[in-house]
């Protein structure tokens, strides 16, 4: 990036495990609240927004180009264009970097970028056989024919295909995401105990941050449904009483025999939305804003889909081609916790010279990742991972946490299903 891009303000909704508090709110309704809130907090006239860019993975059938639906529901004038972006788990980060590029290229002055996901609302699909049945039924010409076709109905037609499971399965390797974590656990010899230990830390840190109110700056409460029955004001993922014993009792889910990855040491399936406002540094200065922080540079990288969890090393290595970037100078790192095994694999790959030589065509390692600087307020294992939204959330949280601590440099990085990685270098003043 030739010039850094200012992030003026960003907020997110509380995150709720799929099928719980936010299950009655559709993704497009959920997404309006952070958009309205950033507009209110900055006081920017909605007509001045040049584009709304939202990341979203499970794009709902009733809200095609969900970014446009969100923009209009949030009160942006009809004249503001909007686009929905899909880069899997990095969709909420891609929206930010795409916006930054548009601003750099002089195509836009102010952009709302964000991410939204209602994993509760990912549909159940009819299986292929049932679809064929309905097709035939629709083509029936006479009542007699219709009855004849109706008689061919079989109980197995009623077995739905959850789109959630299909969506989390890599179509190339055929592995469900959890299995890619098992792959890394084997490659890096990561024990079940190590994984559970990390999961526990995530919960403990999240609980501490909640109690200390660190999240309250970034959270906008949202109604649990369109009836406004109540407002959800806090995340519901973190468990106060989480213990190593409870984690140890869980059975592996992906590889039932001899596996190590459990629901306890994986990220939660969650609903949530986030949005932030981007503009050039000059524009921010002209308008008298004190930005939350700046986007310095970013990189996306790709790798073997089976090892997608290592995305952060690959992407960070690419980011490090920018000579000004160094891992040592990062005060804080947010690395999305898809799986504890995947985080630990990255912790081992980052400082490894061997790994660097073999996979990253680098002579030196990227550097060590100090756990005391990594996901300091917990991550997706405790808070949840609404796939299209997380990228935006970790950027907002990283900047707010840097600001709270009076620190400056930060790295936000994600692994991406399908075998990609994203890394974004942020700066707070």
């Amino acid at each position: 990036m030739p010039k850094r891009i200012a992030i003026i303000e960003g907020v997110r909704t509380p995150m709720a495990k799929a099928g719980t508090s936010l299950k009655n709110l559709s993704a497009d309704n959920l997404g309006t609240y952070p958009v309205k809130e950033v507009l209110a907090r900055t006081g920017i006239d909605p007509a001045e927004i040049d584009e709304v860019i939202m990341g979203n993975v499970a794009q709902p059938a009733h809200a095609a180009n969900i970014a446009r639906v969100i923009a209009l529901k949030a009160g942006l004038p009809a004249s503001v264009p909007a686009v929905t972006i899909h880069r899997n788990c990095a969709s909420g980060m891609e929206s930010i970097t795409t916006g930054a590029l548009k601003i750099s290229a002089g195509q836009a002055r102010i952009i709302i970028a964000g991410g939204v996901e209602s994993m509760s609302r990912i549909p159940l699909l009819y299986n292929r056989e049932a679809v064929k049945f309905y097709e035939k039924l629709a083509l029936a010409r006479s009542p007699g024919q219709r009855i004849k076709i109706l008689l061919t109905i079989r109980p197995r037609y009623f077995k739905p295909e959850p789109a959630l499971v299909s969506g989390l399965t890599d179509p190339i390797s055929g592995l469900i995401m959890g299995m890619t974590a098992e792959v890394l656990a084997k490659e890096f010899s990561i024990s079940r105990e190590e994984q559970d230990d990390f999961a526990l830390i995530s919960h403990q840190r999240a609980i501490h941050s909640m109690e200390a109110g660190y999240f309250s700056e970034e959270i906008v409460p949202v109604p649990v449904d369109t009836e406004y029955s109540s407002f959800l004001e806090e995340d519901i993922g973190p468990r106060k009483g989480q213990s190593i014993e409870a984690l140890a009792r869980l059975r592996p889910v992906f590889n039932r025999k001899g596996g190590t990855v459990t629901v306890g040491n994986s990220c939660q399936i969650t609903d949530g939305a986030a949005a932030l406002i981007l503009m050039s540094e000059d524009e921010a200065e002209k308008r008298g804003f004190t930005p939350l922080g700046f986007l310095k540079d970013f990189a996306y990288a790709a790798l073997d889909p089976e090892r997608m969890g290592l995305g952060p090393v690959y992407a960070t290595a690419k980011l490090a081609e920018n000579k000004k970037f160094s891992l040592e100078s990062m005060d804080l790192i947010e690395m999305n916790e898809a799986f504890a095994a995947q985080i630990i694999a990255n912790e081992r790959a980052f400082p490894s010279v061997k790994f660097a030589e073999k996979f990253l065509s680098r002579k030196e390692a990227l550097g060590t990742i100090d756990r005391s600087r990594l996901n300091v307020n917990g991550g997706a294992i405790a808070l949840g991972h609404p796939v299209g939204m997380t990228g935006t959330r970790i950027v907002i949280h990283l900047l707010k946490e840097l600001k709270r601590r009076g620190e400056h440099q930060g790295l936000a990085t994600l692994c991406v299903g399908g075998g990609q990685g994203a890394a974004i270098w942020l700066e707070a003043e």
Binding site: N29, E37, A40, I44, G75, P223, Y228, S229
Partner: protein, 709 residues
């Protein structure tokens, strides 16, 4: 045809169009002039044998014909004059009906009263698909009835039962409802009208319109009661009961319309038109109609004449980015009001529970509209999205108006403004929805007092049409104009009121409540008092009113007003007993009245009296209204508002004072010269050794209005 100012006759190849375009007004109005013009055009056309089809259309956007000229109705000074006027209209529409070729009204918007009667005299009616199309015969709302043949033609077209409902209620229906009832023969998208006309012309040619009439008759549902002998009188008896229930029998117009329909709707001859004419002539002279017409004009005046810079465009600006601070009952209602008028607003509160309640209140109002099919679930959801609930105050608040509706405490409010002013743009206006605090007092510490005023909505916000605008000492004239425009945009009637405790409505209302409490304390049962006031025409008695507004709130407002007007108001033991017993009214489900009867719990809190005062039931209303009249006189003498009819209108819109009475001061005048003054003199001397307001001495013959003299 020369000197025709309001109509244009356009001839096309196959048909002609007669386009109404009122010369002197934004809407099409059927003045006597335009009616006479129409007559001469129609007479000439009736001799023309080249025309095969005539469309009657409007040259105004979104308005077919808005009705007869109300100014002319108001000028009617005798029964025969009214009869003549109706007769003129009837005659013109008869000529229209009897034309030797078919006619079709092309309805493109509001089609009210005389406008609909004109359409009814056409052979066919087509409406465009837009939501602007509204059809009604609203005459009874002005104390008269449809006099240009509406009572005769409507039942013949849509059936007696449906016509009865439409005429007695005066309510409007939209195009699709009109189609379902048979009133409209086709609903056509605006852009398709030219094609439709061709098709329509062709179909008339082939079967002389039989298929259209057949389809219309199919849609007209015959009321089940009309199918057997004797059913008709049951139907009419039920309709009459409904009128009595909803109007208390205080309004002669619906009863007269009922009578006309009952006597004539089933007849085939023309005698019904004569009865319609005479009934109109009689109704136009009733006191009730005079009152309703006058109120119609005051309503217009309040929306037009209060601007201080009526010419300046900038002074007509209204809010585009409002915030409502405080999500209580009022705040939530105001936010809904903005949303319902398509203005996005922010609703702020420090308590998330209040915000939830505020948003739910809006949700409920939208649900109600959904149930009445006034909008769809999708529209309601979008409407709610227009309200942004804010849990924290932004550091920079980019709003042009903040309506403060937080708790009624001067210190809290002032400190709220103190934090608000620096984060707002320099031009933003702050208003308070206070009901009892002085505006100038609230403006004390402001840096920009010129941009501050009182903006007082009434509860429930969605139903009460009045907003009091209270300038403080330093409020700028532009601020006042901005607030007037905003109130009008919200569909409310603005009333600019001078700053004083209670402003206008509460200040005058409280002596009434206080008098009711004092009667109760002296042995007159609240049940009896409520009954007497309902019979007078009030929408509810004073004790049910207390239950509605909240007894604790009434107590608080009462304390403030008692302090402000100590010689006229004194505290009530009964009221303070109720408050300390936790009987707050409807909001906590502990009420004084239940189904019109005093509850036992409340009854026990009445102070014991050794000797009841003696008061006839029929004297109760004047006993309660006299203190109001006295306070109204004080308001006039202090210039709180400048005209007596503003007070009358404010009480009608703000408290539901019965419109057929014409208003509090009208009613006082009608009791006779010096009546109010003399009655007050006796009453006040006996009560607390006071005198009526000295303002009465300036009034000639003790009357508030010139015309009544």
């Amino acid at each position: 045809m020369k000197n025709i100012r309001n109509w244009k006759l356009l001839s096309e190849e196959k048909w002609s169009s007669l386009v109404m375009d009122s010369a002197d007004s934004e809407l099409n109005i059927l003045t006597m002039e335009s009616l006479m013009e129409l007559k001469s055009i129609l007479e000439e056309l009736s001799r023309n044998d080249t025309i095969s089809l005539l469309f009657i259309e409007s040259g105004k956007p979104n308005c077919f014909i808005a009705g007869a000229d109300i100014n002319e109705i108001q000028k009617i000074s005798s029964v025969s004059e009214g009869e003549k006027m109706a007769g003129n209209g009837q005659e013109v529409f008869r000529i229209l009906e009897d034309l030797p070729f078919p006619t079709c009204a092309v309805i493109n918007g509001s089609c009210f009263g005389g406008g609909l009667e004109l359409a009814l005299a056409c052979t066919y009616r087509v409406a465009d698909e837009s939501s602007k199309v509204r059809l009604s015969l609203p005459e009874v709302k002005l104390g008269i009835l449809p006099g240009f043949g509406g009572t005769q033609r409507l039942p013949r077209i849509i059936g007696e039962a449906a016509a009865l409902k439409m005429i007695l209620s005066g309510r409007n229906i939209d195009a699709s409802r009109g189609y379902k009832t048979g009133l409209i023969d086709a609903v056509v998208p605006k852009g398709y009208l030219p094609f439709w006309k061709k098709k329509f012309f062709m179909s008339l040619k082939t079967d002389n319109g039989r298929s259209i009439i057949k389809s219309r008759k199919k849609r007209v549902k015959k009321h089940p009661l009309l199918r057997f002998p004797g059913g008709r009188s049951i139907l009419y008896a039920a309709a009459r009961r409904e009128i009595i229930a909803s109007t208390g029998g205080h309004y002669p117009a619906p009863l007269a319309a009922w009578k006309v329909l009952k006597k004539t709707a089933a007849r085939k001859n023309l005698k019904g038109y004569a009865l319609e004419r005479t009934s109109l002539g009689k109704l136009a002279l009733t006191r009730e109609s005079r009152h309703l017409l006058r109120l119609f004009f005051i309503d217009k005046e309040l929306k037009k004449n209060q601007f201080i810079h009526p010419r300046k465009k900038i002074a007509r600006a209204m809010t585009k980015r409002p915030m409502v601070a405080g999500a209580g009952v009022m705040g939530g209602g105001i936010a809904w009001l903005f949303s319902s008028r398509k203005i996005p607003s922010q609703l702020y509160d420090i308590s998330s529970k209040s915000l939830k309640n505020g948003m739910q209140a809006s949700r409920k109002l939208y649900r109600g509209m959904e149930k009445k099919h006034r909008l769809t679930t999708r529209e309601a959801e979008l409407g709610l999205h227009r309200i942004t609930p804010l849990f924290r105050m932004p550091k920079q608040l980019n709003r042009d108006l903040v309506i403060e509706a937080i708790i009624e405490n001067s210190d809290v409010k002032r400190s709220f403004y103190k934090n608000l002013e620096p984060i707002l743009p320099d031009t933003a206006i702050i208003v308070s929805n206070t009901s009892s605090l002085l505006v100038s007092e609230l403006a004390r510490d402001l840096k920009r007092p010129e941009l501050f005023a009182g903006f007082h909505f009434f509860n429930p916000v969605n139903r009460m049409p009045l907003v009091e605008i209270i300038p403080g000492k330093e409020t700028s004239t532009e601020t006042i104009d901005f607030l007037i425009s905003t109130a009008i945009a919200l569909g409310k009637v603005p009333l600019v009121v001078k700053d004083c405790p209670g402003f206008l409505v509460n200040r005058i209302l409280f002596p009434y409540i206080s008098a009711a409490l004092s009667l109760a304390e002296r042995g007159i049962s609240p049940t009896l008092i409520d009954k007497a006031m309902k019979a007078f025409g009030m929408p509810m008695g004073p004790f049910v009113l207390l239950d509605e507004i909240g007894i604790d709130i009434a107590g608080k407002v009462g304390t403030i007003l008692e302090k402000a007007y100590p010689d006229r108001l004194s505290g009530s033991v009964f009221l303070s007993n109720l408050v300390s017993a936790g009987i707050f009214g409807k909001k906590n489900h502990r009420t004084i009245m239940k189904e019109g009867q005093l509850t036992r719990k409340a009854g026990d809190l009445l102070p014991k009296v050794s000797r009841k005062i003696s008061l006839k039931v029929e004297d109760i209303p004047s006993r309660l209204l006299l203190p109001m009249i006295n306070e109204a006189a004080y308001c006039l003498s202090e210039g709180i508002v400048v005209q007596a009819d503003y007070i009358d209108m404010a009480l009608i819109l703000g408290t539901g004072f019965p419109p057929f009475r014409g208003g509090l001061l009208r009613w006082a005048d009608q009791q006779g010269p010096y009546w109010a003054f003399n009655q007050l003199k006796i009453l006040l001397e006996k009560e607390n050794n006071q005198k009526p307001c000295s303002y009465f001495e300036n009034l000639s013959r003790g009357l508030f209005y010139e015309e009544e003299k």
